[in-house]
Symmetry: C2
Subunit: 382 residues, 2 copies
């Protein structure tokens, strides 16, 4: 089927695009390199240099990969989006086109404004491009588990039935996110839900946890096809960051007590989840929400797992508890449901020692490229 | 105290500004005439012409009113907002600066985009101007009862305690609004709640129902000080619209079955509520939410009340059920709590026949200005 991957240059976007193309879909990736530009501006470049999207698509094809069309464009520009949807009339759009960093969104007014404007306008434009030019197109939207925050009740998959004073109704599960970035995803969900129930759009909203991983079958064909791998405090996710710290010989920077619990998943499982969602779409008028992660860990547990994997490859990994730059509960209840994607067919890849060792070995090849100044928290939730 | 009234040219903004000035506060009104411009563009001009803000402030003062400073500026322009807060350092900001029409927000992409951009950016700029230039300033934000939609459970005042699988927590009451305009107010609430809990802002969010009324002590000093009174399908609220239809001899346009129930209030009570909120501020780190209305009616009941009031002044008022241009439940449960403002000191002005007769008499003076083309629904939730 015809699939648009918005934000196709991202850590998840590019591996997703190759994966969907290899499944036989006609894939067009769209990106304006916002994340590359913001990473460069904040000295948060990825560990390995990555070719641009046109080059990546050519390298992918040179290795026998199925073609991927590349559009360099800004999803906040409705003229571009409308023309794209009118030309392609996709059956599915995978929407990753958001500023993805929580710390970035907390730097100051300009960064907060960029995050709010970019993320909400991109989502708004996706909605309208679908309404006006591809009304049966299924929207697969990347949300985040962070939308829910850390409530003191079990987190259901997107919805909750509330019984109150003897009456009942079903609502979006309450959301209270920990950064402006995560809050923009809450706003996205509200906006999507309005247009779904009013105009019958078909939407799958994936509440994803932090992703780790460097390896997918298509990425492994050529080092230049690797996902862009950030290890800094702004664009790096926690597992990737810890692995680079382990290789660099820098103590792992656990924020505060380290009791913060989150749901994690392997990059391979992101590809599975997005593919399952795309190939088994939501019904018209349905906002289908899945909690997209496979295992929960505290940050302390993650650090210990990385330390153990480090020992297996001869690294002496230390763990350091640094002052928490974020405002978040460091010790809290966390019991999110995550059944929907397994029922749809997800086979999880757990975070085994082998998986972490393989990642460490890949990072070790780039040891000399690690810039220690990128490792320590630079952004505080003031 | 120093109070900024953003959106001070509006139906509520201008009477609020005069009222707060008469209470002895140092009031500055800010507006960019967006609503005037949109009303002109959609042929939805108010019943009586209203002088501009500078003129209004002069007329108010000529009648012995306390001075009101006027700033013509766009609240989506952060440079303007930041400079304003830095110069004035208000103790309170009353934020009405939003595109206020649900039908307008449902016309098409451009109108939806304008609504989303204007409303969310204005709120975002208020938050940041407070954070950066007046951190102890209390934000009084006008939300809407429409944020909640029409759930099948009792509507609490902003918050709800949920017991789920044997555990409890307190959350924002679930929201599911009926138009994009109302949805932007949901997004505002989410955004305010994030910044309140992260940075300790002090915010009162008023979930207001539809307001009716033409008369306040300050407005009544001079016809040129009257609130701008829209009676069209786009900018007119339902009671005001029915009164003009009654005077024009056009059957009252009840949408669908007319079982839609909402909470209403007199303009005098809006002034009371906003003043009470401003003079008894929320605590730092508190998002205080009140449901701001005094009585609930179905649309059918409102139409019948207007018919009865019409009979008292010799008008033969007919009621017509027209196809509902909106997507909304026409027969639903509705039981919202509204205690907080009464506890704070609100003395409600109920919708008596005398109140409606007084409004009809005021409208009758402008009978020749009524344009019947503005009365029937022009915007459909497609």
């Amino acid at each position: 089927m015809k699939i648009l991957v918005l934000g196709g240059d991202g850590y998840l976007g590019w591996p997703t695009a190759m994966h969907l193309a290899e499944r036989g879909h006609e894939v067009t990736v769209v990106d304006n390199y916002l994340r590359r530009n913001l990473a460069r501006a904040t000295r948060s470049e990825a560990l390995m240099p990555t070719p641009n999207l046109h080059e990546r698509a050519e390298i992918h094809q040179a290795h026998g990969g199925r073609p991927i069309d590349v559009v360099i464009g800004d999803c906040t520009d409705y003229r571009m989006m409308a023309a794209l949807f009118e030309r392609i009339r996709p059956a599915c759009v995978v929407h990753y086109a958001e500023q993805p960093s929580a710390p970035y969104s907390m730097i100051g007014y300009d960064e907060a404004r960029t995050t709010l404007h970019n993320n909400l306008t991109a989502t708004f434009n996706v909605i309208w491009a679908v309404l006006e030019h591809a009304p049966s197109c299924h929207v697969v939207k990347l949300g985040t588990m962070g939308e829910y925050g850390t409530p003191n009740i079990d987190i259901e998959e997107g919805w909750i039935e509330i019984e109150h004073k003897g009456r009942k109704d079903r609502f979006l599960f309450p959301r209270a996110a920990g950064s402006l970035y995560h809050t923009t995803k809450v706003l996205d969900t509200d906006l999507l839900w309005f247009y779904v129930r009013t105009f019958g759009l078909s939407v799958t909203d994936l509440m994803q946890g932090p992703v780790y991983g460097l390896s997918t079958p298509a990425c492994d064909r050529d080092p230049r096809l690797a996902p862009n791998f950030h290890y800094d405090d702004i664009f790096g996710t926690v597992v990737n960051r810890f692995l680079v710290q382990a290789v660099a010989g820098v103590p792992l920077t656990v924020y505060g007590k380290g009791g913060q619990t989150r749901g994690y998943l392997n990059l391979l499982d992101t590809l599975q989840c997005v593919t399952l969602a795309a190939e088994k779409p939501a019904a018209p008028g349905e906002l289908r929400i899945f909690n997209q992660f496979t295992e929960t860990f505290t940050v302390q547990e993650l650090a210990e797992r990385v330390r153990d994997a480090g020992a297996a490859v001869g690294l002496d990994v230390k763990i350091d508890h640094v002052e928490n730059p974020r405002k978040e509960a460091e010790d809290h209840y966390y019991n999110p449901v995550h059944k929907g994607l397994v029922e749809l067919g997800l086979t999880p890849h757990p975070m085994t020692r082998e998986v972490l060792v393989d990642m460490l070995e890949r990072v070790l090849r780039h040891r000399d490229r690690i810039d220690e100044r990128k490792i320590h928290p630079r952004v505080r939730w003031r």
